[in-house]
C-alpha cells in the first residue's frame, strides 16, 4: 500500500529524473570501482567510494532538515542529534558484531567497557546483536526523541528563534551526556574499530560499494517520501503553517500536529542517514552532536536552496566536496572559504543555488506566458473589481 502511495501519479518529472540520477550513481560508481582495474582512467578509487557514500548520507540529512525547515519553517539547530542517534544505534550493532575479535577477546563486552572494568553489558545494549533490532532502533530512537521533544515544544507554541535555540540546547545536552563515560557509549572515543556488517567485512571494497549503493537508495527513497509529502495536500498545509501559522489555527487546523508529523518524519530520515554514515566512516562519537555540526547542515541546505527537494542535496554535495578539497589543498583557507560562503549566500542567494536557478527559470517562462497572454490579460483586468495591481 505504501509503495502504491509513493509511486502513484504525482511525482513530477524533475523528481523522477533526480531519483534516476541517484539510482544510476548507486549502480555506476560501485561498478567503476569494482569492475575496472586500478590503472583504467575511469576507475573510481576506493577512497572516493567511501567519500561519496558519506556525502550521500549528508545529502539525506540535509534533505531531512529541508523537510522541516524549507517546507515547514522549523529551523532545527539540533538535527545532528537525530543523525548521531541513528549512528549510535548502528554503531552499537557493529560493536556487538565484533564479538571476541576485540583486543581483549571478550566475547560480550566491547573493548572500552573491558578496560573501564565494566562487568556486564548494560541493559540498553541488549538486543543490538540482532540487525533487525538495531534497524528498528535506528528509526525508533530519533523518531521517539523528536516526537517527545516536538510534542512539548509545539504544543506550548515555542516557535522561531526560541525553538532553534532549544533544539540547539537539546543537541548540546546530548553531546555532554554522550561524552560521559558513565553512559556506557564509549565516552569521547565513541564506538569504533568495527569489523563487519551483516557478515560482510566492513573494509572490503565490495562492502564499501554496497554501502554506497545503500546510501544512494536511501537518499532516493528520502527524495520520493519528501516529494510525496510535500506534493500532497498535507504538503500545502506544511507550507501554510510555515507562511502563517496562526491563520491555519484559525482555520481549525492544529499546526502543532502538522509540525510534529514533519519533525518526527524528518528525524527518522536523519537517523537513517546517520546509520548509513557510521559504517562508511568507521566511527561514531559525541562530536557528531556538536551544535556546530547541526549548523553546518543548515548551511548546506541554505546554500543548495531550502524549500526545494534538489537544493539540499546539491548543497550537501557541493559544500562537502569543497571541504574535502580545501582541507587537503589549502588547509589554512578552509574556514575563510566556508565562512565567506555563508555570508555571501545569505546575502546574495537567499533562496540558495537551486532556488535561485528555479526563480530565474520561472520568471523566464512567466515572461513568455505574459507575452502570450497579453491580450487576454486586458479583459481579465477589466473584469476585476479593482483593476489595479
Amino acid at each position: 500500500m505504501i509503495s502504491r502511495y509513493l509511486f502513484e501519479n504525482g511525482l513530477s518529472p524533475r523528481i523522477l529524473a533526480l531519483v534516476a540520477v541517484i539510482l544510476a550513481a548507486a549502480i555506476i560508481l560501485p561498478a567503476l570501482n569494482l569492475a575496472l582495474p586500478e590503472s583504467h582512467p575511469l576507475h573510481v578509487p576506493t577512497y572516493m567510494i567511501s567519500l561519496i557514500g558519506k556525502y550521500l548520507t549528508y545529502a539525506l540529512l540535509a534533505l531531512s532538515l529541508d523537510l522541516v525547515w524549507g517546507f515547514c519553517g522549523i529551523l532545527s539547530l539540533g538535527h545532528g542529534a537525530f543523525f548521531a542517534l541513528g549512528g549510535y544505534a548502528m554503531g552499537m550493532y557493529l560493536m556487538r558484531q565484533i564479538g571476541p575479535r576485540g583486543v581483549y577477546g571478550n566475547p560480550l563486552l566491547p573493548d572500552f567497557m573491558v578496560f573501564l572494568n565494566w562487568k556486564e553489558l548494560p541493559w540498553y545494549w541488549s538486543g543490538f546483536d540482532q540487525f533487525w533490532f538495531a534497524a528498528l532502533m535506528i528509526v525508533a530512537v530519533p523518531g521517539a526523541l523528536a516526537f517527545v521533544f516536538g510534542w512539548f515544544a509545539f504544543r506550548s507554541r515555542v516557535t522561531g528563534v526560541y525553538l532553534s535555540i532549544i533544539t540547539q540546547a537539546m543537541t548540546f545536552a546530548l553531546m555532554l551526556a554522550f561524552f560521559r563515560n558513565d553512559m556506557g557509549f564509549g565516552g569521547n572515543n565513541g564506538l569504533t574499530d568495527f569489523k563487519d556488517i551483516l557478515g560482510f567485512d566492513i573494509q572490503a571494497d565490495t562492502t564499501r560499494a554496497g554501502l554506497l549503493a545503500a546510501s544512494a537508495v536511501a537518499l532516493a527513497l528520502g527524495v520520493i517520501v519528501t516529494a510525496r509529502i510535500t506534493g500532497s495536500s498535507f504538503g500545502k498545509l506544511l507550507i501554510a503553517v510555515r507562511d502563517a501559522e496562526s491563520r491555519t489555527r484559525f482555520l481549525g487546523y492544529r499546526p502543532e500536529m502538522v509540525k510534529l508529523f514533519a519533525f518526527t518524519t524528518s528525524a527518522v530520515m536523519a537517523g537513517v542517514a546517520g546509520a548509513l554514515y557510521v559504517p562508511q566512516v568507521g566511527i561514531i562519537n559525541p562530536g557528531e552532536f556538536a551544535p556546530a555540526n547541526s549548523i553546518e547542515v543548515v548551511v548546506w541546505t541554505a546554500i543548495g536552496g531550502r524549500g526545494t527537494i534538489i537544493g539540499p542535496i546539491v548543497g550537501a554535495l557541493l559544500v562537502n566536496a569543497g571541504k574535502s578539497w580545501f582541507t587537503g589543498a589549502l588547509p589554512e583557507l578552509w574556514l575563510f572559504a566556508l565562512g565567506g560562503l555563508f555570508v555571501l549566500v545569505t546575502l546574495f542567494l537567499p533562496k540558495g543555488i537551486v532556488g535561485t536557478l528555479q526563480e530565474i527559470a520561472a520568471s523566464a517562462s512567466e515572461r513568455r506566458k505574459a507575452r502570450k497572454a497579453d491580450a487576454e490579460a486586458v479583459d481579465g483586468e477589466q473584469a476585476s473589481p479593482v483593476g489595479a495591481e
Binding site: G105, N106, F179, T192
Partner: protein, 432 residues
C-alpha cells in the same frame, strides 16, 4: 601588529603558492611523500598546529642533508579540522591518493582510534607523538609518546617518595586517557598501601572553565592533616582556568602540589606562571634540558618559525625521535615499503634530545627517560628528578586486571599486538 598582518597575508598567499608549487615540484622529480595529519583548525588546532610546523622543519632539514635514499622528501599537509571522522577520510586520502610513505599525526586518542582501521586496511605507517592511555598496540602504528608507565607512575613515585604524599586527588577530563590513567594509578596506589578514602577521583567535561567548586573541594580534601597532591590529567583548554583558579585560591605548590601529564611548555605560554611555581609536570623532555642536541633543536625551531618566543615541548621531541627513526629504518631497509620498514624499524636507536638514545621496541613503543619538572616563573620547567635509566613503554598495563597477561611483539614469528602469555595465544584475554 604590522608583523601580524604580514603573517596573515603571507599565510593566505603562501598557502596558495605552496599548493601550486608543490604540484609543480612533484612532477619535476621523484620524491618521497610524507603525510602530516594534524588539525589546523577547530579545537585541537591549538596543540596540533605546532606539530605540523615541526614536521615541516624536520623534513626541510632532512632535505638539506640530502633527503632519504637519494630522494627529496615532500610534505603533504592536510587539515582534519578537529573532526574525528575527517581524520579517517584524510588518512585514506593521504595513503591512497597521495601515496605517502608514512604519516605523522593525530593528537587525541579518538583521532587515533578513528584512523586505526584505515592504516590497518591500507597498510600505512602512522607515527603518533602524544602521551596516551596505552592498552593498544597496532602493527602499523608507532607510539612515540609516553605510555602511562613512562609518565604517570614515575610521577606518583616521585611524589610519594620525595614529597611524602599520602593523600591523592586524581582529577581529569572525562575521556578515555584520564579514565584509564586514573584506573592504573588507583590500582598502583592501592598496591602501595594507600587507603580508599585517601584517593579522590574527579572528572570534568571538556573545556570546563568554572573550577571554583572543584578547587575548593581539593583544598578541603587536602586539609585532612595528611600531605596531599593532585595528579592532573585535565586536558587542553581546561588547564588555564584550572591553574588560574589554583593560583587565585592561593593553593601553593608547597602545600598541595599538582602534577600534570598534559601541561607542557606550550600550555604554560598562555599563563602567568608566577603563582604556579613549584607545580609539577612529568614528561620525557623539557625545553630546559641542557644538552647540545636540544640546544641545536631549539635554535633550529626558533629560526624555522621566526619567533624567538616560541617554545618546544614533549610531543615535538616525539616527532623528532619518530621521524629520525623512520629515516633510519628506511635507509636500513633500502625502501619505503611499509612491510620492510615495519620489520627494520624495531631495534632502531636514535638520539633523543635529553642526552641519550631512544630505541623502537618490538611492541612499537619506544624507550625514554622520565623527567619530573617544576614550573618556573619564566614558563619553563626545571627538572627535579629523572629516572636513572630509560623506561620501556608498556602498552598493556600491569595494573589492570584485563591487560596484565597481554604483551605485544611485532617481530616474526609472534607478530601479535595482544598476545596472551597465560594462554599462549594471540587474541586478547578471551573468556575468563
Amino acid at each position: 601588529m604590522a608583523g601580524c598582518i604580514r603573517n596573515l597575508a603571507a599565510t593566505v598567499f603562501g598557502a596558495a603558492l605552496t599548493a601550486s608549487v608543490m604540484a609543480g615540484a612533484a612532477r619535476a622529480e621523484e620524491t618521497i611523500k610524507v603525510g602530516i595529519l594534524h588539525s589546523l583548525s577547530g579545537t585541537m588546532a591549538i596543540s596540533e598546529t605546532t606539530l605540523k610546523d615541526v614536521m615541516l622543519m624536520l623534513i626541510e632539514e632532512q632535505n638539506k642533508k640530502g633527503g632519504v635514499l637519494g630522494k627529496k622528501l615532500e610534505a603533504v599537509v592536510v587539515d582534519p579540522a578537529s573532526d574525528w571522522p575527517l581524520f579517517a577520510e584524510k588518512a585514506r586520502e593521504l595513503i591512497e591518493k597521495d601515496k605517502v610513505a608514512a604519516v605523522f599525526g593525530c593528537w587525541t586518542s579518538v583521532s587515533r582510534k578513528s584512523v586505526l582501521p584505515v592504516f590497518e586496511e591500507l597498510n600505512g605507517l602512522l607515527f603518533y607523538p602524544v602521551q596516551y592511555e596505552g592498552e593498544e598496540s597496532q602493527r602499523n602504528v608507532f607510539y612515540t609518546g609516553a605510555a602511562p608507565n613512562q609518565q604517570a607512575i614515575p610521577a606518583v613515585d616521585y611524589l610519594m617518595n620525595d614529597e611524602g604524599v599520602e593523600r591523592w586527588v586524581l582529577a581529569g577530563t572525562d575521556y578515555v586517557y584520564p579514565r584509564t590513567t586514573n584506573k592504573i594509578l588507583e590500582a598502583y596506589l592501592k598496591s602501595k598501601g594507600v587507603a580508599e578514602e585517601d584517593i579522590m577521583i574527579n572528572y570534568t567535561p571538556f573545556g570546563h572553565s568554572d573550577w571554583q567548586t572543584i578547587v575548593a573541594d581539593i583544598s578541603k580534601f587536602g586539609s585532612a592533616g595528611k600531605k596531599t597532591a593532585v595528579v592532573s590529567t585535565i586536558n587542553g583548554d581546561a588547564n588555564v582556568p584550572f591553574y588560574k583558579e589554583l593560583g587565585n585560591q592561593g593553593i601553593k605548590a608547597e602545600d598541595i602540589p599538582v602534577v600534570a601529564f598534559s601541561v607542557g611548555e606550550e600550555e604554560l605560554a598562555g599563563l602567568d606562571t608566577a603563582p604556579l611555581v613549584g607545580h609539577l609536570a612529568a614528561w620525557n623532555y623539557f625545553q630546559s634540558v641542557d644538552t647540545p642536541e636540544n640546544e641545536e633543536f631549539i635554535a633550529g625551531w626558533k629560526g624555522f618559525i621566526g619567533d624567538e618566543k616560541r617554545v618546544t615541548n614533549d610531543p615535538m621531541e616525539a616527532h623528532y625521535i619518530g621521524f629520525n627513526m623512520w629515516v633510519k629504518a628506511v635507509e636500513k631497509a633500502g625502501t619505503t615499503d611499509p612491510d620492510a620498514v615495519i620489520d627494520s624499524i624495531v631495534g632502531v636507536s636514535v638520539p633523543n634530545l635529553s642526552g641519550g638514545y631512544s630505541t623502537m621496541m618490538p611492541n612499537h613503543h619506544i624507550t625514554k627517560p622520565v623527567l619530573i619538572g617544576e614550573i618556573q616563573e619564566d614558563g619553563q620547567f626545571e627538572t627535579v628528578w629523572e629516572t636513572p635509566g630509560l623506561v620501556v613503554g608498556d602498552e598493556w598495563s600491569d595494573y589492570l586486571e584485563d591487560s596484565k597477561s597481554l604483551i605485544a611483539d611485532w617481530r616474526a614469528p609472534m607478530s601479535c599486538g595482544n598476545f596472551n602469555t597465560a594462554t599462549g595465544k594471540c587474541g586478547g584475554k578471551g573468556v575468563n
